[in-house]
Amino acid sequence: MMHSLIQLSIIVLLLPLLSFVVLIFFNRRLPRMGDFVGVGLLGTAFAISCSIFWTVIVQHYDPAFRVAWDFTWLDFGNVPGVGPLVVKMGIVIDNLTAIMLAMVTLISLLVHLYSTGYMAGDKNYGRFFAYLGIFTFSMLGIVLSDNLFSIYMFWELVGLSSYLLIGFYFEKDSAADAQKKAFLTNRVGDIGMWLGILILYSQFHTFGYQEIFQNIAAGKFTLSNGWLTAAGILLFFGCVGKSAQFPLHVWLPDAMEGPTPVSALIHAATMVAAGVYFVGRIFVILTPDALHYIAFIGAVTAFMSATIAITQHDIKRVLAYSTVSQLGYMVMGLGVGAYSAALFHLLTHAFFKACLFLGSGAIIHAMHHEQDMRWMGGLRKNMPWTFATFSIATLALAGLPLTSGFMSKDAILAGALAFANVEGGGIFYLIPVLGFGSAMMTAFYMGRQVWLVFFGESRTHLKPADEHHDEHGHDAHASHGHDDHGHDEHGAHHGVHEVGWVMRAPLVILATLSTFFVFSTDPLDGAKGWFMHLVPTPSTVVKSAEAPKAAALAVTGGRLLAEASTDTAHPAVVAGHAEAVHGAAAEGHGPVFTDPRQAELAHEAHANHYTAIYLSSGMLVLGIGLALIVYAFKMIDPARTAEAIRPLYLYSFNKWYWDEIYDATLIKGSMLLSRSLAWFDSNVVDGIVNGVGTVYRKIAFANGSFDKYVVDGLVNFTAFFVQTSGAVMRKIQTGKVQTYLVMVMVAVLGYFAVYLIQLMK
């Protein structure tokens, strides 16, 4: 009997699909192109997932909560060498799933609402909602999947919907390029993920998370530990592609070619976070080496994109790079073992970043599709609501205390510090350093953005007249209906006015969700919040390969191990109860781990909590202060600074030249290879085939030339002979062979007669 939650979640999963099917076929026939269908169905889905959320999170307040259901999808029969083999598809609901369900449906619903205002008048209005539907469906699929195969399927499906939505204005070549780039880049990541899945499958002949985890825990992984690390890293590659981690981050900024609500839903809140979610799912099989790799990738990504974001002019690109940077944070968090913190940041980030994007959408809408911050300014008077919500979200992103962002980010940074300490310093201190550095930069560029957009005086009139269309990343909105009244109003602000409620309400809701009290009673410690309690760090199933380290950890780790309950089957459960008893402030707070390394990390993270708070607040002050100094008090002229450090400026402005590098090496290279192979195919391989024929002709010809001299010689000789004899006996010389033949026969018969006569005698 299916658990009622499962049934509900299936309904939630299928409602967006239904909306897609209905809209894709009938949007032209329905009134208002059927947007109410999308909104209505999503509303229902959200309501149901709220009930799930309530049941799971509020009613059973249990870190170990888990219900699962699966069915046989493929039956391979009795496979030789393996025995009966089936591929199962299934759904698992635990705390994380429930939270993600609520989050995804909520943001999707808000974006649907918002789009009814933002996309109004588009000629493909209905199709837009259809695409949102298929996206939501596949995203929910990722969230609910209980096995690697189905998550891979939905993984690619979100790739598809992202492809469709980025290229929503496919008439624009830039959009078409961007969608292709996004899909292909993601595919590169997916290859890695797929190989990782294959490694695990080839060992256990199953795709299910639980089976795989139990098998590894039981030490059934026969290949070397290196393979397990490889599997982890390869699976992480999927996340690298989807969550736009370095070096596959290049697609996300270009993805801003899509309509802004899409950027908010897919490229900020949900899809790009799926990578982090997935790594969280497989967290337990990641070996320490794999985790190091992940941590470094995350840190580098966070830092790099932060530096890029500083110099961008396009309001959406700044947000895009900050998204990449924040995703880098989450990945780093996972890498350093701060599992709960990373997923917590995933949740908070989803809300405030969606708020930021929708806000920027509102601004763009109001500014008639002006996206360049250099020509904005002074909007706070015209758009108070947008201003308020946008600034709250900004502060959350920058990590100001009392915001949600503060708690999660701080937890991650604490984890990073702990990690560095546990790993024994050295190179590993790079990670927290990069983390704090990008925290500072985040504060700076967000401050810069808010100031440029909302404060000061309007700079629309400064915009050079010729920059209407040629700006990269100009919202494709310009390419349809709205355009006609778009650009004739530069230089005056009477065109700019607050957006309608249908677009304002989502902003307000999201801004509210960006504050601390939603998540925790203590504004300073997210760890005391319900999230980090309900989504505890699971204990790894990998046997710690490095014995000496384990010994080294025994000093502190051993003490924690001593506290561990005898029941090691569900360490997290035990931890949950233990925590409930001791209270959050108790020493050794956090789950109890069987693995000394994890135990050490958890301990250290708690220990470093306040250090992290001080450092990050310092960074925040530094960043925002710098922003104010530069843009508010005008003490430093950004232009001249840029001139002073021109190379650095250009390096950052051109996004570290990654696009150029890839274009020059990979793209050009593969095109060259393909052309040369095609040439090889048509000239060499096929040439050999035709060559056989040619060779035969050559032989025949050579032989022919031989014939020419010998045979023709004979012929000529015959001719000569005939001629001379003809001169003699021209009378009987008719030149007809048959005549000669007749004569010959006459002669023969003559001889024959003579012979017969001889015979008679």
Partner: protein, 545 residues
Amino acid sequence: MLSLIVFLPIIAGLIILAVPASQKQIIRIVSLLAAVAQGVVAVLIWRQYDPTMAGIVAAPGGSPVGSFQLIERLPWISLDLGSFGPLTIEYFLGVDGISITMVLLTALISIIGVLSSWTIQKQVKGYFILFNLLSTAMMGCFVALDFFLFYVFWELMLLPMYFLIGIWGGPNREYAAIKFFLYTLFGSVFMLLVMIGLYFSVIDPLTGNHTFSLVAMASQENYVPGSILGPGSAMWRTIAFVVLFVGFAIKVPMFPFHTWLPDAHVEAPTPISVILAGVLLKLGTYGMMRINFPLFPEVFQAGLYTIGVFGAINIIYGAFCALAQQDLKKMVAYSSISHMGYVLLGLAAGNSEGMLGALYQMFNHGTITAMLFLLVGVIYDRAHTRAIDKFGGLASYMPVYAAVVAIAWFASLGLPGLSGFISEAFVFVGAFSAPTTRPIAMVSVLGIVFGAAYLLWSLQRMFLGKRKPDAVYDIETDAHGHEHIHFHDWTGKLDLDARELTMLVPLAIIIIALGIYPMPVMGLLTASINKLVTVLAPVAMSAVN
């Protein structure tokens, strides 16, 4: 039952023979009815089929026809060759999991092919007679269980194909037809030799005579020790395997024997391309699974790695060549080379997942590629060109066409939820699970990206963006300010018309349905595949040698 499905088209061909050539419509309708009837019979067969019976090989000591189904077995030719003993050739039909899927595919593709032949105007009568002959030959190949019978059908297939390409093809058709003919003939000549060798090496356990029955050949204990291909004569068995493999590989087509395919496709008319890619290519891999591998399992085991490497070459090489093509049809042709590479890779895995993926990929590639070629034909009818760069922005003007194209293209690049993905996925699963082919699998996974690359790129160049300056159509704005395009000398419906939809929509539905729940087809396969794997497994040989 099987005879019916095999010879229905021939009967239709005879009827058409009686119809005066001027009655084009009647001729078309007759062939359509035949194809539909064939489809109905195929479905009946499918209903009767019991997926739990494995087939492949006669159970030792069990029934001589193994667990094949719908058996039809009659002595066909039996001569007394004196010193050579009696020559017995049987009319021996039967299906197991491997063949029934192909039978279903063939029936489906034949219907599609007849429908898409509607536009053929030149010598309709001759065309449809040849077409029906071809469809009989294909169906026969898939159900024949007597090697000689198989060979007859196999050869019978060449002739109509040759004429269909050579007469109804494009400008360079003679070259393409000859090339196709010579290549395949080259392959089948070797097959003949091996066939005779096998005949003299195999004894039917019941009659004690030499036999052509594939069922008898498939079980190693029927081989006469000391005979030319019997156990022990490793060298000859290897040679026979290689020769046979080449014969089938030409049909697949496997690098480096693939160059006939692009030419043949580019020159062939649309329905023939559909048949060619949809069914004929499958005959190569089907032959491998039915004849080549089970008859020489130990050689197969030894050759796994090589086969896998060739599969990988097909995948990557085909994808790269496709990336460079300017002619849309040529690109699709190379794409099917690449996709057949997956089949080879799956076979090389030698385990159930891989083989299952391979066979499923054969089925899906049949439907998907048929769709691709139909779509190419659609645009070619309108624009009279296939140059990818001569379009641009079509999606705005032919939305339905663009949508269907998107389905086909994404199915072909292996998007989850469409059937192509599952087969490719399990090919990789199998290839990776087998230690032999693991490195190959790692390399050929790259095919996923390059496949996506050329498909998406062509999609963008033809459908997205704006009309290219040198496009083959003009944009006109009507009274309401809506933009329309029109192709020169194309009077029909701009977007897909009813006939084209009746061809494409069922295919699309099949592709999507099998992408979501593959069991309807996979369920037919599993028993046979598992049996096949056990037959091929090295242990099976140790019993004989």
